[in-house]
């Protein structure tokens, strides 16, 4: 079993500009993980990068090492250790500029308690996605970090 959180936001900037920034791991990961901790590990030389990324949520740290692949206008990553999860970022055209969507799927261990934990995790992941998307939008529209 797994649970998925999905959020999207409209950015009032040209599609090409948004796609370039939103799929650049060096820009996006610090924005998404800005509420927790993140660290660039290595460039794998095959078009992918490895990062350590954690969201600090109360008593636990959700995340681990992820392998990131950027193919504009999309970016995706999958965990290679730590919390089992995947992330997909996609930029599409929108009448006001561009729309950025983020989808995170988290898989936690256990049966009943695991399902309950996934239910809670979905809300937490969703709120973190919103926070990351708002940071990204503000960064693109106003050129600074709030």
């Amino acid at each position: 079993m797994a649970t998925t959180a999905a959020e999207r936001i409209v950015v009032r900037r040209p599609f090409e500009e948004v796609a370039k920034v939103a799929t650049d791991p060096q820009v996006l990961l610090p924005l998404v993980a800005g509420l927790g901790r993140f660290k660039f590990i290595r460039d794998n030389g095959d078009g992918s990068e490895e990062w350590d990324m954690f969201l600090d949520i109360g008593a636990i740290h959700v995340g681990g090492r992820v392998r990131v692949v950027s193919t504009p206008p999309t970016l995706s990553w999958a965990s290679v250790r730590g919390t089992r999860h995947t992330m997909a970022v996609e930029v599409t055209e929108h009448p006001q500029g561009a729309e950025v969507s983020m989808t995170m799927t988290v898989q936690l261990g256990g049966l009943v308690m695991g399902r309950i934990a996934e239910f809670v995790a979905r809300g937490i992941a969703g709120r973190h996605l919103v926070a990351g998307l708002e940071q990204l939008r503000h960064h693109l529209e106003f050129g600074d970090l709030a």
Partner: protein, 274 residues
């Protein structure tokens, strides 16, 4: 159409003259108990507030008629800067300031009826001013929008800060809108009943009250955890010059606050519980 004039039944003077530090000192422990034990409140970021000049605090309003965020800010401000420090004057809806008993209570805490002239006067007197541009519209926004900034396009606060030459200090809070359950914003109802023109009431929402369900009786707020964050100041003159594009300035300030609010909301594990 002329607005309905509420009878002036207050005995306490309006503004800094009516602010009563001894009264505030007596009330603070009660507020502290309520917010510490019932709402498990957390307030951070007062180190961002310039100490040597008055500022305009701009907050997102939540919690329906109870507006717990206002009381929490008054509590935190008056304990951080002390009751004897730079006074804080809150701009309140006339329904509050002109109500008997409650109006006097609000005035003793240093609240005045919201309006640009009065706000500018107290800023010139050296007080910090607290304003909630979204007012009743934001405090009564649907629960599904609890983590959204809803200023309804109101830009008066920007002009006030710019004209008075003071910085804006944004204040964002989560949890307040989880103390009530608002099903819809009721803006169409307010317009249909002409309350927007008669009493400047823009929202008559459908609210699920505790413990009266939907009856319009005094309610008990739900014990949601409230988090508040004071953000770094914004100098409108420095950022937008002497003749700002107000739409751009509005977008920037509300965007900055939305980023802060969403980041604060991300600290929530479960809505209500915190």
């Amino acid at each position: 159409m002329a607005r309905i004039g509420l009878p002036a039944m207050h005995r306490v003077a309006d503004g800094l003259e009516g602010r009563d530090p001894e009264f505030i000192r007596k009330v603070l422990p009660r507020l502290w108990l309520a917010f510490e034990l019932y709402f498990r409140a957390e307030v951070e970021g007062f180190e961002n507030v310039p100490q040597d000049e008055p500022v305009l605090f701009v907050g997102n309003h939540s919690g329906g008629a109870g507006v717990p965020d206002t009381w929490l800010f008054l509590l935190a401000y008056n304990t951080y800067f002390t009751v004897e420090g730079r006074p804080l004057v809150g701009l309140a809806h006339r329904v509050i300031t002109e109500a008997p008993v409650i109006g006097d209570l609000a005035r003793r805490f240093g609240m005045v009826k919201a309006g640009p002239d009065r706000a500018r006067e107290v800023l010139e007197q050296g007080a910090n001013v607290l304003v909630y541009p979204g007012g009743d519209v934001e405090a009564l926004r649907p629960t599904r929008d609890r983590n959204r900034i809803v200023f309804d396009g109101r830009k008066g606060f920007l002009k006030l800060a710019h004209d008075a030459g003071v910085k804006i200090v944004p204040v964002v809070a989560t949890g307040g809108q989880e103390t009530v359950i608002v099903i819809n914003d009721g803006r169409k109802t307010a317009k249909a009943l002409r309350l927007d023109t008669l009493l400047r009431i823009k929202s008559v929402p459908l609210v699920l009250n505790s413990p009266w369900l939907m009856l319009p009786l005094p309610t008990v707020p739900l014990p949601a955890k409230i988090r508040m964050q004071v953000l770094p100041p914004i100098d409108l003159r420095e950022k937008f010059g002497d003749d700002p594009d107000w739409d751009h300035a509005y977008d920037f300030v509300t965007s900055t606050m939305q980023v802060g609010l969403s980041a604060l909301a991300a600290r929530t594990t479960l809505p209500g519980l915190g």
